[in-house]
């Protein structure tokens, strides 16, 4: 493997990691508030199809992104209502959301299968930065949504650990009773972050349909939503680690595509299995290492809050 190929793979790792990164960040803040949402896959799919539909109809990328945000948020709102207000089991509600989203996206997308998108997110080289050797081509020759994620991740970290709002969010996920006693509105906070998480998942989906493979294919997320859920565990609920993890998964994905050009003769079907097998292995290693200690999961994750 020569240097230019390594650079190409690392750059590809970032772009194929980005949709997972958005979804994982969304799930991360949602889980931080104490709500587990297994509907990421469904929210991504609905985001992907809505963004694509809006972009096809209007020819406007910004409207596409807006549609994906709204659609992802609306999906998450169902989960929020079910789990926060009705106190339905979060696991079942999330699974229902994924199944529902798969159906809805298939239904909505029927008319645009094979339709090309006239406008897509294209790579924009950032002046000066993109000409830095090695680092430039890896980090600074991407599309706008990648750059947004560069900003969003440190921002999320700062929000979580350095602001009052972030403190409230963490408190609600760790100990809703205490937070409530201190006058924090547990229900409102959970609603906000569950919906925000859904919006980010929708954006992750839209990245797939509007940037990486500008088209709509049924079930085009292909398990990335689930990988995002696993990634949150891997990242011990920390946005910076989620970023690193997403690029790692993106790298495995990218490697799968390119490994044959390195002269390795493996059936492409085995290469397509790689990200899934990798996810299982990573999950096993992370869980084994955290054994006996706290995993970093918010203490109240999965439990509905009931006010006395």
């Amino acid at each position: 493997m020569n240097d230019s190929m390594l650079v190409a793979i690392l750059a590809a790792a970032i772009s194929s990691g980005t949709p997972i990164l958005y979804a994982a960040l969304g799930e991360l803040i949602c889980e931080r508030s104490g709500v587990l949402n297994l509907g990421v896959e469904g929210m991504m799919l609905v985001g992907a199809v809505s963004g694509f539909l809006a972009a096809v109809r209007t020819g406007n990328l910004a409207l596409g992104v807006l549609a994906a945000l709204v659609a992802g948020g609306a999906m998450a709102l169902i989960h929020a209502f079910m789990t926060i207000s009705l106190k339905v089991n979060q696991v079942v509600s999330g699974l229902a959301l994924t199944l529902f989203g798969t159906g809805v996206s298939g239904y909505l997308g029927k008319s645009v299968i094979g339709v090309p998108l006239s406008v897509t997110f294209r790579a924009v080289s950032i002046p000066v930065l993109s000409s830095i050797p090695v680092v430039g081509p890896i980090l600074f020759r991407h599309d706008l949504l990648v750059y947004v994620s560069y900003v969003l991740i440190p921002l999320a970290w700062f929000w979580l650990y350095r602001t009052r709002q972030g403190l409230h969010l963490r408190a609600v996920g760790e100990s809703p009773e205490t937070a409530d006693a201190l006058g924090v509105n547990v229900f409102a906070i959970r609603y906000v972050y569950v919906v925000l998480g859904g919006m980010l998942a929708g954006l992750g989906g839209a990245y797939l349909s509007m940037a990486s493979a500008p088209s709509w294919i049924e079930n085009m997320t292909a398990g990335r939503g689930w990988i995002a859920v696993a990634l949150v565990i891997f990242a011990v609920w920390n946005p910076i680690r989620a970023m690193a993890g997403a690029y790692l998964f993106g790298g495995v994905d990218a490697l799968g595509f390119r490994i044959q050009t390195l002269g390795v003769t493996v059936s492409s079907f085995f290469l397509k299995m790689l990200p899934y097998i990798f996810t299982v292995l990573v999950l096993i290693v992370v869980t084994a290492r955290a054994r006996g200690r706290r995993t970093g999961a918010p203490e109240a994750l999965g439990t509905p809050y009931e006010r006395e």
């Binding site: 997308g109 029927k110 999965g302």
Partner: protein
Amino acid sequence: MKVRLEKRVAASPVYRFFSPVLAVIMALIFGAVFLWASGFNPAEVYLKMWWGAFGDSYGISETVVKAIPIMLCALGIALAARMLLWNVGAEGQFYMGAVAASWVALSMRQAPAWQVLPLMALAGMAGGALWALVPAIPRALLGVNEIITTLMLNYVAIHWVEYLVHGPWRDPGSLNFPLSAPFSRAARLPMIGDTRVHAGLLFGLAAATLLTFVLWRTKWGYEVRVIGENPRAARYAGMNITRNVMIVLCAAGALAGLAGMAEVSAIAGRMQKGLSPGYGYSAIIVAWLAKLSPWGIVVVSILFGGLLVGGYSAQFIGVSAASVNMLQGAMLFFVLAAEVMGRYRIRVSLSGAGVDASSSRPAGPVQEAADMGGERARE
């Protein structure tokens, strides 16, 4: 306005029985609105679906044919769910069962039916069980989240099937279609009468009977139920949770694998991709709709078989097949919501002061003995 959820002392038994029915009706209303919004006449679509699925003997037999794999997968899912294990991997286990059964069928082309069929069934169960064992071991020993691992393995299984039918198993006579060679006559499960309903139905009914017996009449079934209802108490009582996690997940995988065997042997007659249109996922909804009751699953899976077959009929008037998936997902939501309505009484009072975020705040006094998800997540 204030909306409050108040805990009922005891959910009315009539309501408990009818809540799934109510949920299905609500889902159909939701579907009607959706159909109407996209320019269809909902009544026409539903009638078409009903006649397609239950209108004549052909429709009914097709409905049962579709119900068989869902039934077997859902029985396994329900068994695992009774121990708070989420087997989202029935789809993959179904495929691995089909692969193992096909391997037997393809390598015993001369053997008579009494040899090849039992071996195929055993191989199918073993294939599904082994595929379930992969996530079961890390779950049992380390507590690795089985929801994600079982689901990831679905994708691996599907790619594995694609590899086989594009590669080593591809039938040279298939004109480049990704199909295996057809099975011998002996490797085909017999049909019942002159319908397409096959002996897989008997597997399903036998499994439901066995599961009912095991769960409520054996010591092991008792253990499974206790572990599911109160893991901590079970641990204090000295029940071996680690071992039971593995057994239960393998049993669930074996049932899904048997479904794969029945489908590939009776219906497809050869290995091919797309053998399942998502039976393993529909089965999750069926298991919950039936409240994890084995005989409930038998009934609900026939309803879902009907939904699939009716969905095919609806396609003739232009309704997308995906709308059936959407309806399934919506049904699960309504089931969940209807269940809550059984547990709580909704109080709406107009006197409430100040409409802010707290207006939608439910303030039930008692929490349902730590919701299942919560119990799990804290483990």
